[in-house]
Symmetry: C2
Subunit: 189 residues, 2 copies
């Protein structure tokens, strides 16, 4: 149950088994169906999720009522609505599974307890954030000033799983193009 998580942690630095088990003991299992909402708009994020199996997305709604996908996370990654989680203010996004999934979640309390008491876990947290930051930047720069075709190629290069696992519609809103355009582009590759 914790093997993927343990792999993840071990990749971050030396750790003894006792500490590893201590960390894992704060995570609980959650099995979900497709399209299950883990956090709604305006709720306050109190859990950090690690994806054992499956996929999760962050999304929001426009005034016109259509969904915009912001971020997709797959097996072996952490995900939450970070601004809400950090500052305990209402989230401006939804968290939702996009397929049947197995998640390990840790409460904010336990999370910060680990951050404060285990230096390695603090380091892991910092690295999660650094990585998130760098990925965000790459995404901004990968999209900035590019047309639809170039953006699709960029995603194929940098997030190859995405177009395979995610519906046309979700991927299109993530790319900031219409489903029609994405469909047309894919038919030409």
């Amino acid at each position: 149950m914790y093997s993927t998580l343990k792999e993840f942690i071990k990749r971050k630095g030396e750790i003894d088994n006792k500490s590893l088990d201590e960390i894992c003991s704060h995570f609980q299992l959650l099995k979900t169906k497709r399209n299950e909402i883990l956090l709604s708009y305006n709720q306050i994020a109190t859990n950090y999720y690690f994806i054992n199996k499956g996929s999760v997305r962050l999304f929001t709604n426009t005034k016109e009522g259509q969904e915009i996908s912001r971020y997709f996370a797959f097996e072996g990654n952490f995900v939450t609505a970070l601004p809400s989680f950090i500052d305990q203010k209402p989230a401006e996004e939804f968290i939702q599974t996009i397929e049947r999934s197995e998640l390990l979640y840790i409460s904010r309390i336990d999370f910060y307890y680990l951050v404060d008491t285990m230096p390695l876990f603090a380091k892991i947290y910092t690295e999660i954030i650094e990585l998130g930051f760098i990925v965000s930047q790459k995404r901004i720069y990968g999209f900035q000033g590019f047309d639809a075709l170039e953006k699709v190629k960029w995603v194929i290069q940098n997030q190859p799983k995405l177009l395979l696992k995610v519906s046309n519609k979700m991927a299109a809103s993530y790319l900031g193009i219409s489903p029609s355009t994405l469909s047309r582009i894919k038919s030409k590759l």
Copy 2:
């Protein structure tokens, strides 16, 4: 000389004057002209800059040779080419002042020395990254699926200094629109 930096640090948490001076002693002053390059593409970032006065941007070039502005930092903010700074790999961007500026810089060595020896500084670093991450996200979400007019309005709301301090051309490339379009939009507000 260190007053702005001290303000910045004090806002992050309780700290005694001795530690504050200890931190500041690792920063050196750098006065620059307009358009001075602090880091070039493919160089490795070894300094973290704090902006005492002035403004700095990150930018890169397209294959066609035109500049794309990625990020602007103003008085009271930290800036560096983070992916390069963290992993010591060649930067994929330039750092440049856009006006005569006064910067305080700290070497990577000293920076990590402070992170490792002063818990408060480690906390500050984490918060810088968190903030950077959140700002990146806001930018992605503020631009995603919006047309030129909406993006301009978003910047006016969220980074009011930007359009005032930055040339039309730089701002346009930051927004992912052409200078012509930005000019037309501004004339209608």
